[in-house]
């Protein structure tokens, strides 16, 4: 039998279906994938090295650029870690506002996921509906912070400023409107024959393997492990809200799809509860070394002006301790290992990126499948390269 020659195909780093600059070197025997080696690093900006020469306040915009599809969720992770290290208690109202922004970011991330995932597999129309709803969230972001994609609304010890009435109204409109949009996605895809054949029994991974490969988030829950940090390690008053954790059983592309679709509505439920009983009170911790005095006070009071100036160029100092805190990002467990050294710069900041480990599991998921399935698999684990490469 002629010795079966395999060909090497370079998929990426500029391939539309790799959701960013991920490059996978596929070894193909005809259409079947014999071996796959992902190559990353094309978007490495050295965020962890940059963080060591910036003060704690200046690192927040850096974390926006990790998983830029759902920016506020990253801010949540970083700010909670710093507050944990410095022992700061964030006021309730700020916690609720943060939850709203983080959940909106999760929905935004999932919009991008469902749109591109369906488009890769050939369902053209879903992306238009998904991006129509995503636009509403972008407008909310712009209303509250002036930036659509990376709002940087969080501050250490609270948020930049209080929510405006228009923000609250827009969030309510979104909560009222979105179930209809979500229903539209279900109609288009869930029972669609082509969709189910392209996704069922593709890229299956057992619960035990998923854990061994370090998968977290919707991809892990698709295989049946109900690990969600909002329940396992509650933060920012998530335990005030009533919501469920959707879990799949087979762990194939279709189960991951169902888990994420259910997460759409769960997040919506959280936002609804949060916006309805948004508590009154300040949005920043009452601490002269951390909280920025607001602008009109600064025009009149020299001590406020000096404090605002010093907070920006120097900022608070962290004790000489180490702490690890993680939050449930749109893609999985987004953790920050922070080492303080008594100065206003972190001594070391390690970012635990969920997509890094999702991408490392790609060979395990892909081998044995056809090239077309590889596209579906990549879409189902939903990686963002900004977070992998840092």
């Amino acid at each position: 039998m002629a010795e079966s020659k395999t060909i090497t195909l370079n998929m990426g780093p500029h391939h539309p279906a790799t959701h960013g600059v991920l490059r996978i070197v596929l070894e193909l025997d005809g259409e079947t994938i014999v071996n796959a080696t992902p190559r990353i690093g094309y978007l490495h900006r050295g965020i962890e090295k940059l963080a060591e020469s910036r003060n704690y306040q200046q690192i927040i915009p850096l974390t926006d650029r990790l998983d830029y599809a759902s920016a506020s969720a990253n801010n949540m992770g970083y700010c909670v870690t710093v507050e944990n290290l410095m022992g700061i208690e964030v006021p309730k109202r700020a916690q609720y506002l943060r939850v709203i922004m983080a959940e909106l970011a999760r929905i935004m991330g999932h919009h991008l996921w469902i749109g591109t995932h369906a488009l890769d597999i050939g369902a053209m129309s879903v992306v238009f509906y998904a991006f129509r709803d995503r636009e509403m969230i972008m407008n909310i972001n712009e209303e509250i912070s002036g930036y659509r994609l990376t709002p940087t609304f969080f501050r250490i010890g609270g948020v930049a400023h209080d929510a405006t009435p228009k923000f609250i109204e827009m969030v309510r409109d979104f909560v009222k409107w979105f179930p209809k949009g979500l229903d539209g996605y279900h109609k288009l895809l869930t029972e669609n024959k082509i969709w189910t054949t392209r996704t069922m029994d593709i890229g299956t991974i057992s619960a035990e393997d998923a854990v061994n490969y370090g998968l977290t988030g919707p991809s892990l829950r698709g295989s049946g492990v109900a690990y969600d940090l909002r329940k396992a390690f509650p933060y920012s008053s998530y335990d005030d809200f009533d919501f469920q954790i959707p879990v799949g059983d087979k762990g194939d592309v279709y189960d991951r799809y169902l888990v994420r679709m259910e997460e759409f509505s769960q997040s919506l439920k959280i936002i609804d509860q949060a916006i309805e009983n948004l508590p009154e009170g300040p949005v920043n911790v009452d601490n002269p070394w951390i909280t920025n005095p607001d602008l009109d006070e600064v025009q009149k009071d020299i001590s406020a002006l000096i404090r605002r100036f010093m907070i920006h160029i120097k900022g608070p100092v962290a004790p000489e301790e180490e702490v690890y805190t993680a939050v449930e990002g749109a893609k999985g467990e987004l953790g920050f290992y922070l080492v303080g050294d008594g100065s206003e710069h972190p001594y070391r900041l390690k970012i635990r990126s969920p997509c890094f480990y999702l991408a490392s599991a790609l060979p395990r998921l892909m081998v044995g499948h056809m090239v077309a399935d590889a596209i579906a698999i990549i879409g189902s684990i939903d990686v963002v390269l900004g977070e992998i490469d840092r």
Binding site: Q299, K300, D301, I302, S303, I306, R307, M310, I311, K314
Partner: protein, 346 residues
């Protein structure tokens, strides 16, 4: 020099007689907040931030001036002290203008640091009733009267460090300001060096830069033989000023007017930028290739025709050791003569 033993915040410390409580605390590694104290100046006692409580005395005492005595028990931090210090600071801050965004000193201002360290709040700004003029003795230093917290460091520097005494504080609290005698002032900038705030700023360079944007390079002054150490402040390849440090170099932070204000020639427009060759009486620009070849050919020709002693070299007392070494090596090894000298005589 007999030794004195005292306890500060419960820790025992032994210092020679005559040291102040502040210096003893420093030796014991205890930090006492200060504002008008400066390492090279005698105690001024105008800000009262360094007050400490001494067992057996009701009134807190300025630790920057109070000498140590045997068996003293000192506490440097207590609720009362903190309130007293905060009150002192607020008194100073009351008339301080809201200049931080436009003040050169912002980012390295000792007033900013201590206000942030104490976390002072609600000091609404009250402009002074009397508008004080900003006149100063030299155009190279600018005086911002309302930023001045009247700590008296500049007066002490001018009288004690330089023995000139051109500065003094005149007028009572509302009208008090620094008054300068223009005839005595030498524009040496000693006052500029010790000023904790932006009350005295360098008025020469057109370009300013925030301290965290400016690149600072330690070097030795290019003028007299004292060998003062200072940092050249560079902002996008332009020298915009110099800064010094009390603990570095034989000058211990001080420099003269040439050292502090004599840096403009570095980026001057009339610097030589291209090699020049004289042709029938006038210079024309030339490339390095052509200029160096001309010099080498000419030297070779003259050496071969008239012998090495027909060439002489003048090295320079303003160039570095390495350049002088290389120059005399060139004259001796390459040309082959001992005719090398420099103007050590003036």
């Amino acid at each position: 020099m007999s030794m004195v033993r005292l306890t500060i915040d419960g820790s025992e410390v032994e210092v020679p007689e005559g040291t102040t409580i502040l210096q003893a605390a420093e030796k014991a590694g205890i930090r006492i907040p200060t504002l008008c104290y400066h390492k090279r100046l005698p105690p001024i006692e105008s800000c009262n931030m360094c007050i400490v409580e001494i067992e057996g005395e009701e009134e807190p005492v300025n630790s920057c001036a109070a000498p140590v005595s045997e068996g003293l028990v000192v506490t440097t931090n207590s609720k009362a002290l903190h309130e007293q210090r905060t009150a002192n600071l607020k008194k100073i801050l009351k008339h301080h203008p809201l200049d931080c965004p436009v003040c050169d000193k912002a980012g390295e201002c000792e007033l900013q640091d201590i206000v942030y360290e104490f976390g002072i709040e609600d000091v609404p700004y009250e402009p002074r009733k009397v508008k004080r003029d900003d006149s100063y003795s030299t155009t190279l230093i600018r005086y911002w009267a309302d930023r001045c917290i009247l700590c008296g460091r500049c007066v002490a520097a001018c009288s004690d460090l330089k023995q000139i005494g051109a500065l003094e504080i005149q007028g009572e609290d509302e009208h008090a300001r620094i008054v300068v005698d223009p005839d005595k002032c030498k524009s040496c900038g000693e006052c500029l060096m010790v000023c904790p705030t932006g009350a005295l700023t360098e008025n020469l360079s057109k370009y300013k830069g925030r301290p965290w944007l400016v690149k600072r390079v330690w070097t030795t002054c290019s003028y007299c033989g004292c060998g003062c150490q200072f940092q050249l402040n560079v902002l996008d390849n332009r020298v915009i000023g110099i800064t010094t440090d009390v603990d570095t170099g034989v000058n211990r932070g001080s420099v003269c007017d040439k050292g502090r204000f004599g840096y403009e020639y570095i980026g001057d427009e009339s610097r030589l930028k291209k090699p020049l060759i004289k042709e029938n009486g006038a210079f024309r620009e030339a490339s390095w290739e052509e200029a160096l070849d001309t010099v080498a050919e000419k030297f070779k020709a003259i050496r071969d025709e008239h012998g090495p002693d027909a060439i002489a070299g003048l090295t320079s007392a303003k160039c570095t050791n390495e350049e002088n070494f290389l120059f005399q090596k060139f004259i001796r090894a390459v040309i082959g003569t001992n005719n090398v000298d420099h103007c050590a005589r003036l």
